[in-house]
Amino acid sequence: MKILVCISHVPDTTTKVKFIDDFKKLDVTGIQWVINPWDELSLTRALELKDDASSGVKSVTVAHVGPASSEPTIRKALAIGADDAIRVNADPADAFCVASHLADVIRDNAFDLIMCGIESSDHNGSTVGGMLAELLDFPSVSAVSGIRIENGQLVINREIDGGKETINVPAPAVAIVQKGIAKEPRIAAMRGIMMARTKPIKVIEPAAVEPYTEVLKYEMPKPRAACRFIDAENARQLIDVLQNEARLI
């Protein structure tokens, strides 16, 4: 079984984002780029599956759509333990473009399980994984919090409103993963970092794709009103305020 983990790179999650060009573009000055948190968890789970000989996972490949400047993020994924990487040399203009480029990668290489994070922490679209599955006509499972492989079969836990389902889908399939898929993201060790330098990154030139959406501009969130403090000794006053002023309880 071969696994493909799709990774996007995003500003470190503690970044205070700023915009330039009349709020049309992100100011990338000083930004630390990281693997999108859900993609990092999905890579971790893929590597755990490969470590378990009984799973039959032979390789874990990462795929990324982005310019050469995103290669440090791909190297990081290789350092964490992916075997090889594919970069589609294209501007990730919107989710549809990214999904279309990834679909081309998958059409040219037989993968059994494709893993995508449920969303990216920059555009928060939650769309690439599902689009990819539809483009390939593969089954997809969303809100995945667990994946096992038993006798070559994918056994997936899917979160539903008010519970969890355990389901089977035939491979090849797209799993769109969320929190719970792995406990903590795996960190690159020194040996991994050394080895990553020589692992292959295959660069693919993209086919032309027209985006479906375009960001016109960004806005900063409106500041909230100042907090009204209530004395801890008189904490019960909070209940009175919530009941009679805010009318929330």
Binding site: N124, E134, Y212, E214, Y218, P221, I239, L242
Partner: protein, 323 residues
């Protein structure tokens, strides 16, 4: 031209979020000078189904039949896409919940339709079609133009008011043919959380962080939640430590919630935590550190130890509830 709204059901029942969705779809239809149609898939009794008509739709499509009891993303996508084509829909509205997130992107490809995901307000304009959505996990907002003739919108929960309007909607029954071999998703087991208020549905959420100090201190937090009819939640360190289950983790990588009232106890309010709760209508914070960032997001705050504050809140609540 029309607006189609997919109204998911849970064991034959709709939720408040369904009626928010229908109200939203009807308003979008008004902006486009057209009508809205609801699409229900799976068994829903006629009384429940008729409730959809109270929120402005002109037609209700009731799709039932074999093979529709399990959410198979491919089967559902086909049924919704077929209905969209038949209804000549140029906007399709779904919830931004797990189901909506599973189906909207597949529909996008099938219908060559751009997505505006997690919207919480009406489109800013319809020509060009521009939507407003959160970006960078709530640290910014974006104006996004959807350039395709058909558009898909997924609506965030608890973000749109119910608007009652009865247009005397008619129910149209539909029996889509589902070939059993086309159902790829096989459910082997279902584990339900019973008797608990769902975090993502709750109007009030009581949440604990590291400042709760130990998993043994959760009793009063749970008692407060019970008195308020609230769901319980926690911050990431708490779920990472295993003090509470990961299904309670709210924050950027956990659940993103938007209750009317979020009570944060012993949570400092790191950017990643606020990303999951900043859409709450009111935030109340209790923390020992008066400089904690949670107070910048909160409307009401108490500087103090949650362990000491909790009993006082519980006592005051019991008095007003007459217990």
């Amino acid at each position: 031209m029309s607006v189609l709204v997919y109204t998911e059901n849970w064991e034959g029942k709709f939720k408040k979020l369904t009626f928010e969705l229908v109200s939203y779809a009807s308003k979008v239809a008004e902006m486009l000078n057209t009508t809205a149609t609801a699409l229900s898939i799976g068994n829903v009794d006629p009384v429940e189904l008729a409730k959809l008509g109270n929120y402005g739709v002109n037609k209700i499509i009731n799709a039932t039949g074999e093979g529709l009891n399990v959410l198979d993303n491919q089967v559902y996508t086909r049924i919704i896409a077929d209905a969209a084509v038949r209804e000549n829909a140029d906007v399709i509205v779904l919830s931004n919940n797990n189901t909506g997130k599973a189906l909207a992107p597949r529909l996008s490809v099938r219908l060559k339709a751009g997505i505006g995901s997690g919207v919480s307000v009406l489109p800013l304009s319809t020509d060009p079609f521009v939507i407003y959505k959160r970006a960078y996990s709530g640290n910014a907002f974006a104006h996004v133009k959807i350039t395709t003739p058909v558009r898909i919108l997924t609506l965030a929960r608890n973000s749109f008011e119910l608007i009652e309007k009865n247009n005397g909607a008619l129910v149209e029954n539909l029996n889509p043919e589902v070939n059993s071999s086309s159902i790829k998703t096989q459910v082997k087991d279902v584990q339900k959380l019973t008797g608990k208020i769902l975090l993502t549905d709750a109007d009030i959420v009581v949440s604990g962080g590291r400042g709760m100090k130990s998993p043994d201190n959760w009793g009063p937090l749970v008692e407060l939640a019970e008195l308020l009819g609230a769901a319980t939640a926690c911050s990431r360190p708490v779920s990472d430590e295993g003090w509470r289950g990961h299904e309670e983790h709210t924050g950027q990588t956990g659940k993103i919630i938007a209750p009317n009232l979020y009570i944060a106890l012993g949570i400092s309010g790191a950017t990643q935590h606020l990303a999951g709760v900043s859409s709450s209508k009111y935030i109340v914070a209790v923390n020992t550190d008066k400089d904690a960032p949670i107070f910048e997001a909160a409307q009401y705050g108490i500087v103090g130890d949650a362990q000491k504050v909790l009993p006082r809140l519980i006592e005051a609540l019991k008095e007003i509830k007459g217990r």
